[in-house]
């Protein structure tokens, strides 16, 4: 009966305690629905600021919009004085419509010609992915009237060495091309405003990030030698969320899961799923296809670890000291860490059935892709809101799998067994907490003509909760 009890922010917990409110939400908007909490977002911003204010360099926090399409969260970022990091024309439109001015928007990711034209026209900061793009931005800027220079950051990659690999990345300019990039920036100084260097690594291993900082600092110095004046070091984002009340529970669950896979305990997976583990003569090996649910370190602490790391190439001065020494402005692009705890997804129970192998399937009115990012299993127990009369239930714990509403075998909301205190009934609510980071939108589709759930913003303000459609937050009387 290993459980994965979620960590729930006090504000979200008080929202969930209000049964009348949940009834009202379902009555007004139906189920399923996504709910975001801009006040929790603001608290997460404050935690990053509290850390960064303690150092002696300037900084900018850019909210990585791609974690959630919510307009309300983008508005919360604006209100908190952040910049925003957008990665598509849609996200750019959302940021502009939310009130961001162009000097607070930076653009990362693959762009293409049409988008680049837009970016140069709007005078946005372009986080340049490759040499073609750099050349293209220069050409487009040269055609602009008014003499505005296009602001660019050079995103670098390939920081590994012969004996130490770094994660492979499809993004960024390889270090080997740095000379050409800097030379191009110098030659097109008339149309390019070179702001600095940037990286984003798909890992929280601080040694990889320190190696990237070291390499970028060397490029800063080379840029100065060429007469350029880089002022920004952008260290990207990727800082983790904290999903579980007790992270040790995740280890315990994996322990039980592996025992089950080794045939040494109750099987805990639907239809023989292995989640990427392999069984090999006594050991259950491999890296499970889960997010880092065992993490108990808050997002800003990953950044602190990086900033306090000594740099070999700088006589052991820390990253923070070298930034301050060199008057470099730190840019960070947290996404998940800013929306940590700032959202939930409410689904309804349609019916419960028993499968041929005896497994109990609780069928929901939501699809797997609507609460899971990139088909990854979400290893956090949902909360159940039992709405029936007490005598309607059999009061005994049971292990279940949640099934989705699509007519597809693969549409299981959970492929791992979840224990409930009692079996729910049709009409009960299932609350998936902490879904604002990638889970709501990344993979959501309208498969089988099922519409996507509406998104709402819940705000407590000083007194009672108010719930609006997401797009209305911060507009007419909202928030």
């Amino acid at each position: 009966m290993a459980g994965l009890a979620p960590r729930i922010h006090p504000l979200v917990a008080s929202f969930l305690r209000r049964r009348d409110l949940l009834d009202e939400v379902v009555a007004r908007f139906g189920s399923p629905v996504h709910v975001v909490f801009p006040e929790v977002f603001a608290e997460n911003v404050a935690a990053f600021r509290a850390l960064l204010d303690g150092y002696g360099f300037r900084y900018r926090i850019c909210y990585a919009h791609k974690v959630n399409q919510s307009r309300a969260l983008v508005r919360a970022a604006l209100r908190a004085g952040l910049g925003v990091d957008v990665a598509s024309p849609g996200e750019l439109a959302n940021a502009l419509a939310s009130g961001f001015t162009t000097d607070h928007i930076e653009v990362t990711g693959p762009k293409g010609d049409a988008f680049l034209r837009d970016l140069v026209t709007h005078e946005l900061t372009v986080n340049v992915d490759n040499l073609w793009e750099l050349d293209r931005v220069a050409c487009l800027a040269a055609r602009q009237s008014g003499g505005h220079r296009a602001a660019v950051l050079l995103r670098m990659c390939g920081f590994g060495s012969s004996d130490r690999a770094t994660p492979a990345s499809r993004f960024g300019i390889p270090l080997a091309q740095a000379t050409r990039a800097l030379e191009l920036v110098r030659q097109r100084h008339d149309v390019l405003d070179f702001r600095g260097l940037s990286f984003h690594l798909d890992t929280n291993d601080v040694r990889d990030k320190v190696a990237a900082v070291d390499a970028c600092l060397a490029l800063v110095e080379r840029a100065y030698a060429l007469g350029l004046t880089p002022r920004v070091l952008d260290v990207g984002g990727g800082f983790r969320q904290v999903f579980l009340a007790d992270a040790g529970a995740f280890d315990d669950y994996l322990h039980a899961l592996r025992r089950g896979l080794a045939g040494d305990g109750e099987p805990l997976t639907w239809a023989g799923h292995t989640f990427g583990y392999s069984y090999d003569g006594g050991a259950v090996r491999g890296i499970p296809v889960f997010h880092k649910y065992g993490n108990s370190t808050p997002g800003p602490e990953f950044l602190r670890e990086l900033l306090d790391s000594p740099l070999d190439g700088h006589d052991g001065r820390t990253v923070a000291q070298v930034l301050a020494d060199n008057l470099l402005e730190l840019w960070v692009e947290p996404g998940k860490a800013l929306v940590d705890q700032a959202g939930l997804t409410l689904a309804g129970v349609e019916f419960v059935k028993e499968a041929a192998d005896g497994s109990v399937l609780v069928n929901l009115d939501i699809a797997r892709d609507t609460i899971t990012p990139a088909d990854q299993e979400v290893m956090v127990d949902p909360a159940i809101v039992y709405r029936g009369a007490r005598q309607d239930y059999r009061h005994e714990p049971c292990g279940v799998y949640f099934a989705g509403n699509l007519c597809l075998e693969r549409d299981m909301v959970s492929n791992h067994k979840i224990w409930l205190e009692r079996l729910p009934l049709p009409g009960d609510l299932v609350v998936f907490v902490n879904t604002a980071g990638y889970q709501m939108d990344l993979s959501a589709s309208q498969a089988l003509m099922r519409p996507r759930p509406p998104k709402l913003a819940a705000v407590r303000g000083g007194a009672d909760f108010t719930v609006h459609p997401d797009a209305a937050y911060g507009v007419v009387g909202g928030g």
Binding site: A168, G276, V289, H291, R317
Partner: protein, 438 residues
């Protein structure tokens, strides 16, 4: 005693009876099996030698390279065994987490491959798994590698059955408690199996690091699933230990018993005290006999201690910048960028306190570079400047420089701080001088 080959020194390690006045466990005789006395410095010498010795002639004939998952003592022992026979070792690891250990491996000539940090986007095909990486490397060049495979090779267990366990029994007879750190689990499993044959009531205690904590050489309980040799039923109890507790216990081993052991041994000692205090009653008419495995030495872990206990490496005490009260700093003279520029040519010493990269890129013309941490060190010894020279301190934003000026003024210098630091200088449009790398 004369030996012909270094491998003859492997095994037959001493057993030290730990002073009962220090551990103060009643009716307990606590022994430390000093595996650090092995020639390359650790318990792994036995394992490395046992895994390769039978096949060594063939390996040498075929010029095979050892390939192994290890970032520590096994790699070290295998590398020495390889090097002395003209062979090479390729060690694969997720990360070498202790700097000196990496440096020793490099010094010995090992080829160390560190895999990339774990991806934030889970993907079972990502090359983060050491075991599958080794498999893939071996497949690229069949026959070129010899893989001892310490996590699955039963010779690892056997080395401790025939060696460690038997030696302990030969020295002190039946043992009631055996306590050891869990890495490959070869040492505890092998020694316990032997000792259990002579005392079926033997309690075997495995020591792991606490969740999300790190003690070099041992795993956390969750990670034990990766270990093919691991058999949970060998252990009476598995005890997690915090790195903080391990460090305290290591220091106790060092200072109270004279055992210069590494942090894993400290964790083992701490777990032994914990378990024996809880469980041990007299074993009939004789005292309880307990043995801890001391697997390696203290010295390769200096940076591990420094990172967690910087105060143990304290600098000479003296009045420092931190002792300055805000009131003492408040009245310190500051000089504006304009006034500093106007001083040009006069007898002043401009000191840029930033790091060398910042200085190389751009500094106030004529300033010299003495980093803040050097200055702070110097302050306790007396500054190498004449008191007749006016000192101007320059830092990024004018804060540290103000404290330095306040401090040196108290020592009798005429000192001032550039108001607003190099930022103000730059923003005022003043010239910056650069100096190339030497």
């Amino acid at each position: 005693m004369v030996y012909d080959d270094i491998t003859e020194l492997i095994g037959d390690t001493p057993l030290l009876k730990l002073d009962a006045r220090v551990h103060r466990l009643e009716h307990v005789e606590l022994y430390a099996k000093l595996e650090m006395f092995n020639p390359f410095g650790s318990v792994k010498d036995r394992v490395a030698w046992a895994m390769v010795k039978d096949d060594l002639d063939g390996i040498v004939d075929k010029r095979q390279t050892f390939i192994e998952a290890s970032s520590g003592n096994t790699a070290k022992a295998l590398q020495v065994l390889a090097a002395t026979r003209g062979l090479r070792l390729a060690a694969y690891t997720n990360r070498v987490r202790v700097t000196e250990v990496r440096e020793v491996l490099h010094l010995l000539g090992a080829e160390v491959h560190e895999l990339p940090g774990l991806s934030e986007c889970p993907d079972p095909t990502a090359p983060n798994d050491v075991f599958s990486t080794i498999g893939a490397v071996m497949a690229t060049d069949p026959g070129a590698y010899y893989r001892p495979s310490q996590y699955t090779n039963l010779k690892n267990v056997e080395a401790h059955f025939r060696g460690t366990g038997k030696e302990i029994y030969d020295d002190i007879g039946p043992v009631d408690y055996l306590v050891g750190g869990l890495g490959t689990t070869g040492s505890t499993r092998g020694a316990a199996t032997y000792l259990k044959e002579h005392n079926p009531k033997l309690a075997t205690i495995g020591v792991v690091s606490s969740r999300a904590d790190f003690i070099p050489g041992i795993r956390s309980e969750a990670e034990m699933w990766e270990v093919g040799l691991f058999q949970p039923d060998v252990y009476t109890e598995i005890v997690p230990v915090d790195s903080g507790v391990a460090i305290d216990a290591t220091l106790e081993l060092v200072t109270r018993y004279g055992v210069l052991a590494g942090p894993t041994s400290g964790a083992t000692y701490a777990a032994a005290l914990d378990v024996l205090r809880r469980r041990a009653g007299a074993a009939g008419d004789r005292p309880v006999k307990a043995v801890i495995l001391v697997c390696d030495r203290l010295e390769p872990y200096l940076s591990y201690f420094r990172k967690r206990r910087p105060e143990l490496f304290g600098r000479a005490k003296g009045r420092s910048l931190r002792d300055l009260a805000p009131a003492e700093v408040a009245g310190t003279p500051e000089i504006t960028p304009d006034d500093l520029e106007a001083l040009d040519g006069q007898q002043v010493l401009k000191i840029d306190t930033r790091g060398s990269m910042a200085y190389r890129i751009g500094h106030v013309p004529g300033s010299v570079n003495i980093r803040d941490d050097y200055l702070v060190d110097m302050l306790s010894q007396g500054l190498p400047f004449p008191t007749s020279t006016k000192l101007i301190f320059i830092c990024p934003v004018g804060e540290l420089s103000k404290r330095l000026a306040a401090f040196t003024r108290q020592a009798g210098y005429d000192a001032a701080s550039l108001a607003g630091g190099i930022v103000a200088w730059r923003d005022a449009g003043k010239p910056l001088e650069s100096s190339p790398r030497g």
